[in-house]
């Protein structure tokens, strides 16, 4: 299983050195990866249909509770088959679609990486492992959306997509960790036991909010849906695969996977119904105003994702079964429509619905694929879409209170609009008269038209013979969501009931809409007038506002003036030290602890203060530096008074060198400007004196503390006895703490080298680093 998951990763790594080999016709060979994986997963169908689940466990980072913990049950099997099945077709299709593209090898590398991540995501039985793969799908999607990297729009779209899904990802991570933290495990199977505990916990709403944030951003729910239409900048096979059939369903998958742990409460149901409901309607509504085929498909995909979230929100058995059915239904017809669109784009060079027509005459197999897919999406009887629609209505009707009316009508309207959108993409380009300019269009390589046809045919086959898949695939998937066995065979014919009536209404109104309404660029313009209300616009505005704020904030804080920085640092210190000093007990002042002051000290102190005044008030840099050195020397003199002449000598040397170094640096600076006004000066004086006062007070506090002289006594007693030196200070410097001295010498040498280099080396700005 681990090999199956990581196979895609190996292939993409292998493509790095071997990519050149696979740029030509050999690219088809890479499709062996998804097809063999498809066969591998298909072999598990009987086992899973028996209600078993297969687990695999390999340790990875046990310290963090993250292991390669995979589990194949009905739900993950459904997704795995979708991923590898549609993956196979997309791999094949792309080998022809992107034939001769200079980055074909990179394309397959990203695609294989994506497939591996997506498989990992649906097979992971550990929420953090799931999250790892979740993020990897976002990253591979980033690279695939930006695949045409020289196009500014592609880059922008991929950034937007990454920002939205990545941002949601971090919130999801927080949610999953919170969940794991509370239940004491990251393993999904173990979390099931903590389900009731989690639901009763005060943080339960927070967990849900964070996890929903992740799921909604990934599955393009309103108001985070806007990255998905932008993602259509990716090559069409990618749109079909990632942004319709698989990756965008990751959020739905997550919700379905966590349903047995977190689902079924009010906090779960209402947000999902509301967001899913809005999304399904919003997406469907927007799709009918678009004229670009891929845009129509993007918005109808958003709508379909909304339906899925909506169904998981309802959370009844019917609804979850409907979700399982609809995942498959949608993947089949939508992928088929996308791939059809890809061929149209490839052969005619346009995706504008208003330009296309009559293409059945030249692209017959494709027209059949489009038609069948459109019919399935329309939910005509004997198509798989019919069953899907049926199940959705069943689910909405079997809710409680006034919900059936509201939800069902919402679902009906959405379906009518979706039907229209499906017909627009699957039928419109092939119907009517063939324009002159497309006379020469011919059928592409068979690898490009068989995949959509195959998908569309499957939609019909599963619709006509639901027994093919219900017990083997769909019931186990729904079982995994509900976490208890249940059995409800899919039926094509429920008798004459309300559901059938609703399906009929949907069909009739949708068909009517298609006949009445002609798509035009005007309708696009009419909806664009409301763009200022669109989430994309609002998020964009928000982002710009944040940027502006960030710019102002950074420039205010980091304004380039050293003195301002120093002021703030000292200020920070004064505040903290002052706070500590004046709280938590009285300030002690015991004059008896202080030693008498000598004349020398007063004199040196006088010079010191004078030098300080000079430093601060002079308008010449050189004077300031000289005055500072006087301060330094005064301090050295104080060392002399306190019986440390050796130390003083060292200090003299260092001071001298530092001054020289500084003078050299200062000479290269622009002339001195006195920018401070009177107010600034007063402010600075105040800060400086309060800082000085606080340090003095603190020092006095420390002096009151009885000195523990064990160490200094040891030095005094042993300097001669053990270290054979008569001068204690010397012995400390060169023996007891000789290492300090040794490396202070090094400091001095480095400074000396610095002086030499500053004096001699002047690189020109044009020279290299």
């Amino acid at each position: 299983m681990l090999i199956a998951v990581l196979a895609g990763l190996f292939v993409s790594v292998l493509l790095i050195p071997l990519g050149r080999l696979f740029k030509g016709r050999l690219a088809v060979l890479i499709s062996l990866l998804p097809t063999s994986l498809f066969a591998y997963f298909a072999s598990f169908i009987p086992t899973i249909a028996n209600g078993e689940a297969i687990s695999f466990h390999y340790p990875w980072v046990p310290s963090l509770g993250v292991d390669f913990h995979f589990r194949l049950d009905g739900l993950s099997l459904l997704f795995s088959l979708l991923i590898t099945g549609i993956g196979s077709l997309v791999f094949l299709y792309a080998s022809s679609y992107l034939k001769g593209h200079r980055y074909l090898d990179r394309f397959y590398a990203y695609l294989s990486l994506f497939m591996a991540s997506m498989l990992g995501l649906v097979l992971a039985d550990n929420v953090l492992l799931l999250f790892i793969f979740w993020e990897l799908t976002s990253i591979s999607s980033f690279f695939l959306i930006g695949f045409n990297n020289e196009d500014a729009n592609s880059r922008k779209s991929s950034l937007t997509a990454l920002a939205v899904t990545g941002g949601g990802g971090f919130l999801l991570m927080a949610g999953l960790i919170l969940m794991g933290h509370l239940s004491g495990t990251y393993a999904i199977q173990e979390m099931l036991n903590a389900s009731s505990f989690l639901k009763a916990h005060p943080w339960y709403p927070a967990i849900l909010a964070l996890i929903f944030a992740g799921a909604f951003t990934k599955s393009a729910q309103f108001p985070f849906h806007f990255w998905l239409p932008g993602a259509m900048k990716a090559p069409t096979p990618i749109s079909a695969y990632l942004h319709s059939a698989t990756m965008v369903k990751a959020g739905v998958y997550l919700l379905a996977r966590l349903y047995p742990i977190l689902g079924g409460t009010e906090y779960w149901t209402y947000p999902l119904i509301v967001v899913g409901g809005i999304t399904m309607f919003y997406g469907a509504f927007h799709s009918i105003f678009r004229t670009d085929l891929k845009s129509i498909l993007a918005y109808s995909t958003i709508s379909a994702l909304g339906i899925l979230v909506f169904l998981i929100g309802i959370g009844t058995e019917q609804a979850l079964l409907a979700a399982a059915v609809f995942i498959l239904v949608h993947a089949l017809y939508k992928a088929s429509l996308f791939l059809t669109t890809g061929v149209l784009d490839h052969e005619t060079g346009t995706r504008e619905i208003t330009q296309l027509g009559g293409l059945r005459k030249v692209l017959l197999p494709l027209a059949i694929a489009g038609l069948l897919a459109a019919l399935s999406s329309a939910g005509l009887p004997f198509t798989f879409g019919f069953i899907g629609k049926d199940q959705i209505y069943e689910a909405t009707l079997h809710t409680e209170g006034i919900m059936p009316i509201v939800l069902t009508s919402l679902a009906v309207i959405t379906n009518i609009l979706l039907l229209y959108a499906g017909l627009l993409v699957g039928l419109k380009p092939f119907a009517g008269k063939l324009p002159e300019r497309y006379q020469a269009v011919h059928l592409p390589h068979w690898l490009m038209w068989t995949p959509p046809l195959l998908l569309a045919l499957m939609g019909i086959a599963f619709g006509a013979f639901p027994a093919l898949i219900d017990a083997s695939l769909l019931n186990p998937a729904a079982t995994a969501m509900i976490n208890e066995t249940f059995d409800s065979p899919l039926k094509l014919w429920h008798g004459f009931n309300l559901v059938l009536l609703l399906s009929g209404i949907t069909l009739a109104l949708g068909a009517l809409l298609y006949l009445m309404r002609k798509p035009s660029s005007k309708s696009m313009a009419s909806i664009e007038r409301f763009n200022y209300l669109a989430p994309q616009y609002i998020f964009g505005k928000l982002a710009r506002a944040v940027r502006r704020f960030a710019a102002r904030y950074t420039r205010t804080l980091h304004n380039g003036f050293l003195r301002v920085y120093l002021f703030r640092i000292i200020m920070f210190a004064v505040l903290l030290l002052g706070f500590r000093l004046f709280t938590g007990g009285p300030i002690q002042w015991i004059p008896a602890h202080l030693s008498p002051i000598s004349v020398y000290e007063v004199a040196v102190l006088g010079i010191l203060i004078a030098a300080i005044f000079l430093t601060v008030n002079t308008s010449s840099r050189l004077t300031a530096v000289v005055a500072t050195s006087v301060i330094g020397y005064c301090i050295c003199l104080l060392f002399v008074f306190y019986s440390a002449p050796d130390l003083a000598m060292t200090q003299f040397t260092i001071d001298t060198l530092t001054v020289v170094l500084f003078v050299l640096v200062l000479f290269r600076l622009p002339p001195f400007l006195n920018l401070a006004n009177r107010r600034d000066r007063i402010r600075d004086w105040l800060l400086a004196s309060s800082f000085g006062a606080i340090i003095a007070l603190i020092t006095i506090q420390a002096m009151n503390q009885p000195f523990d002289d064990a160490v200094s006594k040891f030095y005094g007693e042993n300097a001669y006895v053990l270290a054979k030196g008569k001068n204690v200070v010397n012995v400390i410097l060169v023996d007891f703490r000789g290492i300090d001295t040794m490396f202070e010498v090094v400091v001095l040498s480095i400074a000396a080298i610095g002086v030499v280099s500053l004096l001699k080396l002047k690189l020109k700005a044009s020279e290299k680093e």
Partner: protein, 507 residues
């Protein structure tokens, strides 16, 4: 256990530097010696790490004066890990410098000072004496200052004045703190200080003194509102130097914070809250700065600030999990930050600029290199399962455990901004076509005409550090064990104290 060879990590760089000084102006020989020195240093560091990991804490009493009378050097898992990581960065920068640094700089002592800087770093990590730590800080400051000014360009000088002024201020705070600390305890040995401070009755004084260390190390590690020196200076020196700075300099500050505030001062409620608040602002400040900058190195500089907040936040939460997370982050950060500055330097070699608007087309022209860079950048962002991802799990867990929601929000914002900024950088520098520049800015690729050997000198270090980052990400378990071990040591200092002072610690 006493093991005097632990000082070899310091001596090797001193020795290398002396040899290099003897080879003054012989730049070819210097390059070779520098790389050889770094390789030997790495071998020593690996040996030290395994010895400590297997046998526990090693100590050396300098000049044979027993603690607390002499200066003690201590290698525990924390310091030996830091030494090990420093040796990785060191070797990478040493190799990279061979072609990445102008010959003019080598003529004026670039290599010896680089090794003295590395020596200072190792010294700081290994010392068990607070004043000796100050001495190492001096070595680090002066060496980094000289490296920063070396070349004497105007921007360099301006940046280094700010750098020097604020770092000297940091040292002043640090030194004042040491002075008072000595005044109230009469000792400088950190293990001894740990005991004496714990026994001191005047808690107020202890609380006051701890502030000096917060401010001093806070400046060093570029914590808000003390970070100003970093974005003022990191974009000025050559990239090899910026790499050492970005990867290691702020991290010494972080090291010192962690060491002093787990061994000597145990933060009280106020300090912990303070650290968390500072961490939040540090993350936000770094994020805001990174969002608006357009020069690669400036963006990276602000990202350093941002990520410092993650570690300080971990220290502020102070639980074992939080500290583990912060340490894991530290390990990841040192390897990745060094590398991104090397990458910035390489980009400059390719295109002559670091301005993102003027860059482009690297993805088409250098696909393999782009892949390497992408892996490094994604490690930085923490795209799972790369290195930056794992520590966040600890930090999130700790945040929830400790109910530190504002900090969690800040970490999420910081992570998001990092992701966005890096993706933007990728799109602009790698994906976008090379924009046409006005004639006066025309630049010929310095990299292309180089011999394969010289090219590899630039690329191998980047790949080497990338491989380490990949190891941190993919073999996260091993790193997690190290981080956990260190965090446990920090929670129970008895082994450290006993190793330094002998076994006579009364409970």
């Amino acid at each position: 256990m006493t093991d005097n060879t632990l000082i070899l990590s310091v001596i090797i760089h001193l020795f290398t530097a002396i040899v290099l000084l003897a080879l003054w102006r012989k730049t070819v020989a210097q390059r070779i010696i520098s790389v050889v020195g770094s390789v030997v240093a790495m071998v020593i560091a690996i040996r030290l790490f395994t010895a400590v990991w297997d046998n526990g804490i090693l100590t050396m009493q300098a000049a044979g004066w027993d603690a607390p009378f002499g200066i003690t050097f201590v290698a525990d898992v924390f310091s030996s890990t830091m030494v090990l990581l420093t040796s990785f960065s060191g070797i990478a920068v040493s190799i990279y410098s061979a072609t990445g640094v102008a010959r003019g700089r080598m003529l004026y002592g670039y290599f010896p000072i680089l090794h003295l800087l590395l020596m200072g770093l190792n010294g700081a990590f290994l010392t068990g004496d607070i004043f000796n730590l100050y001495v190492w800080f001096e070595v680090i400051i002066i060496a980094s200052f000289v490296l920063m000014t070396l070349g004497g360009r105007r921007a360099q000088i301006e940046g280094s004045v700010k750098y020097m002024a604020m770092n000297v201020l940091a040292s002043t705070f640090f030194l004042t703190g040491i002075g008072i600390l000595y005044g109230i305890t009469g000792t400088l040995n950190m293990a001894d200080l740990s005991l004496k401070i714990a026994a001191l009755e005047n808690r107020k004084l202890v609380d006051i003194v701890s502030i000096f260390f917060i401010v001093g190390f806070g400046i060093k590690s570029a914590v808000f509102p003390l970070y100003f020196w970093l974005p003022s200076s990191y974009h000025t020196p050559p990239s090899a130097v910026a790499a050492i700075f970005g990867g290691l300099l702020t991290k010494v500050g972080i090291y010192a914070l962690f060491r002093v505030f787990t061994l000597i001062f145990i933060p009280d409620e106020f300090l912990r809250t303070l650290l968390v608040v500072l961490a939040i602002f540090t993350i936000l400040t770094g994020s805001f700065g990174a969002v608006i900058k357009n020069n690669i190195r400036r963006v990276f500089s602000y990202l350093i600030v941002c990520h410092i907040g993650f570690m300080v936040g971990g220290l502020g939460m102070y639980s074992e999990i939080a500290i583990t997370g912060a340490l894991f982050y530290l390990i990841h950060d040192m390897m990745v930050k060094t590398n991104i500055f090397l990458i910035a330097g390489l980009i400059r070699k390719l295109r002559g600029t670091m301005n993102m608007d003027k860059l482009g087309g690297l993805y088409a022209e250098y696909p393999l290199l782009s892949l390497v860079v992408a892996l490094v950048l994604f490690s930085l962002v923490g795209i799972p399962p790369l290195s930056g991802f794992w520590p966040k799990i600890y930090l999130f867990e700790a945040g929830f455990m400790d109910a530190q929601y504002p900090l969690l929000v800040a970490i999420i914002i910081g992570s998001f901004v990092t992701l966005y900024v890096i993706a933007k950088l990728w799109a602009k520098v790698f994906w976008k076509n090379q924009p046409t520049l006005p004639a006066e800015e025309n630049y010929t690729d310095e990299f292309k005409p180089m011999s394969a050997f010289r090219k590899s000198l630039l690329v191998v270090p980047i790949v080497f550090l990338m491989a380490i980052a990949l190891y941190i990400g993919l073999a996260a378990e091993n790193v997690a064990l190290v981080a956990k071990h260190i965090a446990r040591d920090m929670k129970d200092m008895t082994p450290y104290i006993e190793a330094v002072l002998g076994t006579n610690v009364s409970p």
